[in-house]
Structure formats: C-alpha cells, structure tokens
C-alpha cells in the first residue's frame, strides 16, 4: 500500500519518495495544500476501488493514518 501511495503522492508534490514515510504529514512535511489533498483522495478512490468519507478524512494527517484508513475501507 505504501509503495502504491508513494506513486500517487509524487503526482501532486515534488518530493523525494524516500521522504514519504508513514510518519510524514501531508501538509507540513510533504507540502500538500488542502485541495491537493482532496484531489489525491479522489485518485486513491479510483486506484483502490474504495469510497472515501470526506468527514472521516478530516482526522487523517499522516501517510500512516491514511494507509490505516484505506486498509479499513478495503476490509
């Protein structure tokens, strides 16, 4: 999941893939703005065949939290 997510993240921000760790924060560490983040979630929905709940993603700040959330959605 982390590797797939890295591939999507680098489409949005110019960041060294090595820095995309579970601890990395989307906004503070990776340089996302709020619309980048929402747009990326849209790509993830398509890639993983899941439906993201906009209200729930308000609690997602780090790559690790995102992976946990997406894995839960995948069941």
């Amino acid at each position: 999941m982390l590797e797939k997510l890295k591939g999507i993240i680098v489409n949005y921000v110019d960041v060294d893939p090595e820095k995309i760790t579970p601890e990395a924060r989307f906004i503070e560490d990776l340089g996302f703005n709020s619309y980048d983040f929402m747009s990326m979630l849209g790509d993830i929905e398509t890639e993983f065949g899941i439906t993201v709940d906009e209200a729930q993603v308000a609690d997602v700040h780090t790559v690790g939290e995102a992976i946990k959330y997406f894995e839960e959605l995948q069941g």
């Binding site: 489409n11 949005y12 921000v13 110019d14 960041v15 820095k19 906004i27 503070e28 560490d29 990776l30 340089g31 996302f32 703005n33 709020s34 619309y35 980048d36 929402m38 747009s39 979630l41 849209g42 790509d43 929905e45 398509t46 993201v52 906009e54 209200a55």
Partner: protein, 544 residues
Amino acid sequence: MRNCKDKLFEFQTADGFNAMKGNVITMEKSKIRTLANLITESAGEYGSNIFIKEIKGGEVAETTFAGFYENVRRVAGYIQKKKAEFGEMPSGKQLHGAVIGPSSSNWLTAWFGLAASGNVAVPLDAGLSCEDICDLLNRADVSIFFYDKLYEKMIPAVKENCPNVREYVCLADIYEVTGECEPIELPKISPSELAAIVYTSGTTGKSKGVMLLQSNYIDNTMCQDNESSPEDVVMSVLPIHHIYCFTCDILCSLRYGANLCFNDSMLHITKNLQVYKPTLMLIVPMIAETIYKQICAAHKTKPEIPVAAIAQNVFGGRLKTIYSGGAYLRPELQRAYLDMGFNMAQGYGMTECSPRISTADPNDKECAGDVGVIVNGAAVKTEDGEIMVKSPSVMAGYYKDEAETAAALTPDGWLRTGDLGYVDDKNRIFITGRKKNLIILSNGENVSPEELENKFAGREIIGEVLVYSDEGIIAAEIFPSPEASKSLSAEEIDEKIKEAVNDVNKSVSSSKKIHRIRVRENEFPKTTSKKIKRNGAPEGRIIG
C-alpha cells in the same frame, strides 16, 4: 492609467444609466423581473435541453429545463400548502425555508420552490457546525428545513434547539414528501419582494443575514450579455450556498440555457472534468494553483508534449473560459493560464451586491492586476479610498439588524464595500485592501495589510502570511510553505523568510515597512470559505 485613489469621483456606463432608470436593453430581458419569470422563461425557451447533470449512484443523472420547472412547481405547491397550515409565522407573511447540503438538483429545487413561490430561501453553508446551523435557523425565522441526508444525525439536536422549525424535509425524499401536492402555477411576485437571506461567513465578527430581493438576483443575472450560450457546459465546483456560485453558475445557466454540471465532491474535480468536459468554469485561486501545479508536474515527466495540450487534457479537452473569484488571483497565475490558451479573468463582488460589482472581459490579456470592469447598471465611487457601489443588485439590508444595515448602506443607497481601491480610466477596479483591517500608525498614516500581504505572492518560502499591527508596529506572521521548506533547516527557513520580508520592505515607503516577523508552525485558522481568520492572537516565534 489614471490613479483615482483617495479622490471622490463617480461615473456610470451608458448601459448602466439606462438600467438604473429601470429601462431594459432587450425584449427578452423585459420578461424577466423575478426568479419565477426566470425559470418559466428558461423552461419555455430551452425546454427539452439538459439543464442539470449530476452524479447519482456513480451514474450521470440529467434534468431538463422543463423537468426542473415542473419539479419546482411541485415543491412550490407543497410550500404554499404548509404556509396555509402554519398560519402566523415569526417571519411574517413570507415563509422562510432553509436549505443545506452539497450541490444537487434537489437542493436547487428546494431553493426555487421557496423563492419562486414568493417565499424566502435561506441557503446555509454546508460546512457549519450543528450549533451554528441552529443559530442561523433561529435568527432567520425558518419554518421549513430542507437538509441533505448527510445532516440526518444533527436533526434531533436541531429539533431541540429550534422550536420555530415546523417541518423537516430530507432532500433525498423531497418528491415523496411533496408528491401529494399538485404542481402550481407560480404566483405573480413583486420584484421588490424578499427572495433570500444569505449569511456571510466573514473573516471577522458574527455572520450577517444579507437580504436579497427578487430584483437583486435578476439584475445581477442580467447585467452582462453574451457570457455563455446553450452550447456551453458549465462545471460547477464551488459551494452552492455561495452567492458567486449561485448567480454566476446557476442563474446565468438558466438565463443562457447552458448545461450545468454539478461536481459531487472536492475529491472528484479532476475525475469529473473528464466526465463532463466543461467549456466554462468558475473557480477560486486555490483550485487554479493546484491544477496549474499538476499540469507543470505532468509536463516535467513528458516534456515532449506541449504544456497547453496537457492543460487542455486535464480540463477535459473543451475548456475555453475560466472565471476566478473569491480571493486574490496572482497576475502571474492569470498570465500562465492565458499562455496555456485559456481565457482567464477575475471578477469582484460581495454577497451584499448579489454579488457582481465588476467582471472581467475574458479576452482582456493585459493582466494588469485589476478585478474587472464595472458591470452594467452599477455606479461606483470611492470615498476616503473606500469603494462604494450603487446598483439594482445592492441588498435591501441585513435581516433584523438595523445597526449593521445603517453602517453598510448610506441613506441615499450607496453600499460601503469595506474594500479599499480605485478605478482607472478603463472603468477597471483595483483593490488595495480592506478598510476594517487598516493599520493606523501613530503618525496617523493608514496601511492596508492586504497590500503588503499581496507583495509576498509568488515567493516560494511563503505559505501563508498575515500582516497586522503588533504592539503598534507592523508585523508579518508567516507560515512557511511546507513544500519549499521541506529540505531546509530551521535557520535556513528563517533566513529565506527574512530575505522575502526585506524584499517587500524595499518596495514600500518607510512608514509601511514590516518591523516584526513571526514564524508559525501551523497553518492559520480559516473560515469555512478558506479565508484566513484575521482576529486571532499573534502566534509563532519572533525572528526579526
């Protein structure tokens, strides 16, 4: 360019003068004096054409102009029935109904069911908390609450706190609830009747209920010509409760017969651009910035493909015109979009003016930093540097708030915008700041914080910046751009920020120089419309 700053002047365009006298420009316009006229005429003119496309259950659902008209008349019938049942209401003769939820045909049907039947629609911001929703329902004297299914969990709390709300209608069930009512002939409404109360989010203070009349909406919808046509596909991405979206996306689509496509979520803009393939869009600068970054990133990986071709592909392949509004658009970004082959223009307005005060000619390639040319029918002047507007689009006042109304409207009908700026000899408006945010220095000189903040635009290290008076001196509080600072040490970040501030200081007079720099660790708190809240306490370490 003639700089008219701080100089009292006034002008009206020739068309504007006619419109202000109540004359009409074309026969078609003469038929449309109310919102009921607008949808009746649009159904007659464009009947079987598709008015709305939206995503429902993963599929694109369509509503024709005639179908929409029929749906509105059914909901209007339900509202008239309820009004008769309710008898006396705290709102008086007109029934007030609130609508909340993301953009949908059902949301729009509820809104028009209210406003086109001579009652009052109260569109609410979908991002509000339960507490704020209750507060506005009470303050706006709402009797019927139309809500999206997303708010179902809040309803028990709303019922407990809003005793005047008599009926609750889930938008998903709107046709089941109203099904027993026959579609009615829309009643004859006076253009001077109240059509909506629109609450402004505001960066400071309590939100105010802007009272917009039938004639306000119609004037602003009709104030320009040839903006779109039945061939146009408009993808609507902004919040539907927002006046900019409502008038310019929705009412203008009804007027011109354009196909209005609702984006179902901020998550899906990129995907929906490929589904709807719009020809025209209204966006805010943040969306323009992000899409531009994506285009640049794609071009970096495929430099053999021209950037204009990538851009067209990202936007679905048919996009011609982009209007930007809601916040400051960097002239450099506007230029970048023009260079990619789009017509891109920015306008200026406010809820109190329904909203357009000026609108740009998308064919104007100058990127002079203006916010467009004054719309037909509006007169603009400046008083002590503040932009003042008089037009048939200007609100009737704030609902049940005489003090705020008197502060905003002069006795002879001029709206104080609170914005500082000037108009040049091409009738273009230039904004320099907000009056209420002015920093008044000990020498009596006024400094506009926005004027200084805008000077930071385009500097990589600056993520967000707020300028204010900190213990009597001009301070800049900065949240460094995470992207630009990710490979830098704290010392290097501070150094780059100091350089940016020094550059800005070099470009302003000595009294406007920034003498204190604070660096924040977190983004600034924002309003629901993503504007920085200006009234927070200073935060962050001082580095200079």
